[in-house]
């Protein structure tokens, strides 16, 4: 996503919308992330400038919640639930299979920005354990052997 005028305007609209509401920093950051996929430094600086909230504080919040991303997301974001149910049902094996496919461990992003792998807890559908999501699409009740098929399918046409 570019840093074009529209993007800047969108961010500035987001800030304007939430600025007057006290305690709305998290909502502002949420909106920025849903617009850009992450919270770039320039957006955090803009929030700081417009609201008077110190950048140090904004980063305390940004790094406190693992939900917030500070770097541009990969094209294919693979999230693996490692909550209790998924973990017991085989999430570690899924992570191994994903590593075999992408070369990435939990928390890593490939240099070309194609894949990112992130362990999360929890996605909220323990009945489907173990669960992964690829760009938001949920795949449940998986075995390690299913990973290749899912990722081949997701990246078809690359």
């Amino acid at each position: 996503m570019s840093q074009g005028t529209n993007t800047r305007e969108d961010i500035s609209d987001i800030i304007k919308k939430w600025k007057k509401v006290e305690g709305s920093l998290v909502m502002m950051l949420h909106s920025v992330q849903s617009r850009l996929g992450y919270v770039p430094r320039w957006a955090a600086m803009e929030i700081s400038k417009e609201t008077g909230i110190a950048l140090a504080k904004i980063y305390e919040v940004l790094t406190f919640y693992s939900f917030f991303k500070l770097t541009k997301p990969a094209k294919y974001q693979i999230n693996v639930c490692i909550g209790t149910a998924c973990y017991l049902k085989g999430a570690p094996e899924l992570l191994k299979a994903i590593e075999k496919y992408t070369g990435l461990k939990d928390g890593q992003t490939s240099e070309d920005g194609k894949f990112s792998v992130m362990g999360l807890r929890c996605i909220g559908c323990c009945g489907l354990a173990p669960v992964i999501s690829v760009n938001g699409k949920i795949h449940g009740q998986l075995k390690a052997g299913d990973i290749k098929t899912i990722l081949d399918e997701a990246t078809k046409g690359e």
Binding site: R41, A54, L55, A56, K57, I58, Y59, E60, T63, F64
Partner: protein
């Protein structure tokens, strides 16, 4: 008042007192690594745990208020055992390289480990995976996060007390680490090098940028003519490193020690303070009588100057253009003194001994700091560094004979020496400004309303029928209210709330600067300041404009205050700066 029992002893304390503070009344010390008198309790370290009768919980003394009838046990075998475990856990995540640490023998964690008699490391270093960073990018202070015990004092000082917001904790839980705003280098952050983080750090995670090696190198370089000066606040704090009572004024012994270190001449920054007053009070008179920009705001504190350049870019025309006292002495050492003694200024090496870490930044802040054609001050050492050098040199400080400094750059008045305490610059400036405006001398030179530790102090002075309103702020956290008040009056075109304002970055002023001996509290601030006010009270001359050395300096060399030469050598300008470089 609240009546309670601590270890069976009846005590009476004010309502709202924490168990930690109440214990002191009972002459009991409860250990803590996070609570500091200047700061809010956070219950971070977990060492101050106590038992309260009727409760089966172990409570933290710092965050628990003592209540009527409470019976507190602060020490029993079980409590001590739990404290020992907490301490061992903190130590499990702390390097054991005490011998090479800047806080060796001066570390709160080390002291507790010694007191608890810890002889083994029971816990493996499980948290070693935490992100560690050494940040030596700032001029004044260095951060080594591997030593950080995450007590949070520095963050609280930086954010709440100083309102600087350079430091913060990032991430959470075992991944938490200390960093400048959003993982940048300190030099790119809003840090103003005030060093209050280092003054409050219980361990060696934040320390002054040690430059004693550069000082030794210069002293052993035969081609260099080394001169040194020391600030007002240093003389009443240096003694703490040598077992003297807090606040003892040791000007003569310190001068003697500096000669013993091998300096060719010892100057006194106090001479520069008197000179600063002449320039600044003249500037004030000029602005007051010619409708210039008011209030005039003092500029001797480099952390404040950095802060105002980064945070109040619209106020720069209010800041006095007079340089700080040690910069004035520095430039005169390489011009006036060099000419008098026929020494090539390029060979002169000027060292300033300061209570301050920001002075390390100040000497390179702008090209005006090289008005002599060379860096006017070559090196800044803090009080802590010079104490170490004196010890390294084997100088028996306590038995030194008092000595006087150099003939031409060390005479000072009582007005100069009080520069080291909050309100001191204002008081000194008022004494001289009164004389400059009215031509008369004040009957009573004491301005007690601007003394003391209240965050913002205000006073009114009658100067020939004109009411001059002044304000004094110390601790950068107190500045915002003052600036808002001034800006509001300006914007509304109303009468200005003040004509003259003094700001010092550190609470208590330079006596409690970021480079002073460790362990500062309000009690120490008061005692150190008392040492300075006592010297002023007994001084023969108490107004800067009556200092014969300053009169001679103007007659011989500078002409008059605000002369072209004075402007070139003794004044500077300010630039709006970005708060974040990245």
């Amino acid at each position: 008042m609240i009546k309670a029992k601590i270890n069976g002893k009846d005590i009476e304390v004010k309502e709202g007192t924490s168990i930690l503070d109440a214990a002191r009344v009972a002459n009991v010390k409860i250990p803590t690594l996070c609570k500091h008198e200047d700061l809010e309790a956070t219950g971070g370290c977990g060492l101050c745990i106590v038992k309260v009768k009727g409760s089966n919980k172990i409570l933290r003394a710092c965050t628990t208020e003592i209540t009527e009838g409470m019976e507190v046990i602060t020490h029993d075998p079980e409590i001590v055992a739990v404290r020992r475990s907490v301490l061992e856990l903190i130590m499990s995540n702390h390097p054991k390289d005490c011998l090479t640490c800047a806080r060796n023998q001066n570390c709160e964690l080390q002291r507790l480990a010694a007191e608890f008699g810890i002889r083994e490391n029971h816990f493996p270093n499980v948290l070693n995976s935490r992100k560690h960073k050494r940040d030596n990018s700032a001029k004044g202070i260095c951060i080594d996060t591997s030593k950080c015990i995450q007590c949070g004092r520095c963050v609280q000082v930086c954010q709440k007390v100083q309102d600087v917001w350079a430091l913060s904790f990032l991430k959470r839980g075992i991944k938490t680490y200390l960093s400048a705003a959003g993982d940048i280098d300190l030099k790119d952050s809003p840090c103003v090098n005030c060093g209050q983080c280092s003054a409050h750090c219980p361990v060696g995670a934040i320390v002054e940028h040690d430059e004693t090696r550069e000082a030794w190198n210069a002293l052993s370089d035969e081609k260099k003519y080394c001169v040194v000066q020391f600030a007002p606040a240093v003389r009443v704090a240096i003694g703490e490193a040598f077992g003297y009572p807090v606040g003892k004024n040791l000007t003569g012994k310190l001068t003697s020690a500096l000669y013993a270190l091998g300096f060719n001449a010892v100057f006194d920054t106090n001479t520069g303070a008197d000179l600063t007053i002449l320039e600044e009070a003249s500037e004030f008179k000029h602005r007051l009588t010619n409708g210039g920009v008011l209030p005039l705001i003092t500029s001797c504190c480099p952390a404040w100057v950095d802060f105002v350049e980064k945070n109040h870019g619209d106020m720069l025309d209010h800041i006095s253009s007079a340089k700080s006292p040690h910069e004035m002495v520095g430039v005169l050492a390489k011009t006036y003194y060099a000419q008098k003694h026929n020494i090539d200024p390029k060979d002169i090496f000027v060292v300033s001994v300061m209570p301050c870490t920001a002075k390390k930044y100040e000497i390179g802040r702008d090209k005006d700091m090289s008005a002599s054609g060379y860096p006017d001050v070559d090196l800044v050492l803090t009080t802590r560094e010079i104490a170490r050098m004196i010890k390294q040199a084997g100088i028996d400080f306590n038995n030194l004979e008092d000595r006087k400094g150099d003939d031409i750059l060390s005479a000072y008045t009582g007005a100069a020496t009080i520069f080291g305490a909050t309100g001191g610059v204002m008081e000194a400036a008022l004494r001289t400004a009164y004389n400059l405006v009215t031509g008369a001398e004040l009957k009573d030179v004491n301005f007690k309303k601007v003394r003391g530790l209240k965050g913002i102090k205000e006073a009114k002075v009658d100067v020939n029928g004109t009411e001059v309103r002044v304000a004094v702020a110390h601790g950068l956290g107190n500045v915002d209210a003052l600036m808002k008040k001034i800006k509001k009056a300006k914007a509304e075109g109303k009468e200005l709330p003040y004509h003259f304002v003094e700001v010092m970055a550190c609470q208590g002023g330079c006596v409690a600067g970021g480079g002073q001996p460790y362990g500062v509290t309000d009690e120490l601030r008061t005692l150190r300041a008392k040492g300075l006010y006592k010297e002023d009270e007994h001084a023969e001359i108490r107004c800067s404009h009556n200092n014969p050395a300053i009169k001679k300096l103007y007659a011989d060399y500078l002409g008059a205050p605000l002369s072209e030469k004075a402007h070139h050598l003794l004044h500077t300008h300010y630039t709006k700066r970005n708060k974040y470089q990245k």
